[in-house]
Assembly symmetry: C2
Homo-oligomer: 132 residues x 2
């Protein structure tokens, strides 16, 4: 599985860069993750990808439900998932709109949560204990 995370926000805090590096390292066992911080989100989205948009109007999932979604996409032959954090509303259509919390959370932190949830999803899919 290839996972691309696209954000319209640059990373602002040093700790966020380090957290993303840490989760990227842990995820190498399970999938390829690529982060793209860009002003041109549409250009970064490949046509054949399953597109999940992080949105305050989206649907909340449990970690198990996100794991199930990632797993079933693989089974159905979708080998590419794109998560978009698009604060400036360039992207209208997505295959799924995902809400993380009712709270407004800083973009740096949302990115870390997303990485952590993808990592957690693969631990769930593989029946592995969660390594904190």
């Amino acid at each position: 599985m290839r996972i691309k995370i696209i954000t319209s926000e640059r990373i602002k805090n040093k700790f966020a860069g380090e957290a993303i590096k840490e989760y990227t390292k842990r995820l190498t066992r399970y999938c390829k993750v690529k982060l793209s911080a860009t002003n041109n989100i549409a250009k970064e989205i490949k046509g054949n990808t399953y597109l999940i948009k992080i949105s305050s109007n989206g649907k909340m999932l449990t970690s198990e439900e996100l794991a199930e979604k990632i797993s079933s996409l693989g089974v159905r032959g979708n080998s590419h998932i794109t998560f978009v954090y698009d604060n400036e509303h360039h992207i209208e259509d997505a295959d799924f709109n995902l809400k993380i919390s009712d709270m407004d959370i800083a973009s740096d932190l949302l990115l870390i949560i997303l990485y952590e949830q993808i990592y957690r999803a693969y631990r769930i899919i593989n029946n592995e204990p969660y390594h904190k």
Copy 2:
């Protein structure tokens, strides 16, 4: 206002320590925040505090609602708030049970989110733009 954050989990990732340091620094303008990682949570809870427990069975609030809660506690003369992340369920009763997300989120990350939400609350209370 004095805010105490008590957690039954030690901080596991370096980035989390750095994030907490960063938000603690930003919060010095608004309140005193003290973090306590302990196995004896009950001992750390002062009797006169307003107790908010982070709980997956709790109620979700928006950032504005949390700001309103913190603000109204101050007006009512509560000068002390305690947030508890009690993964081992030592604490039965709290004044409020707060759910952050339907997702299971690593304790390190929950702590960072909590700090960020307290900082965000004070920016909202003081009508200040949010500094990312």
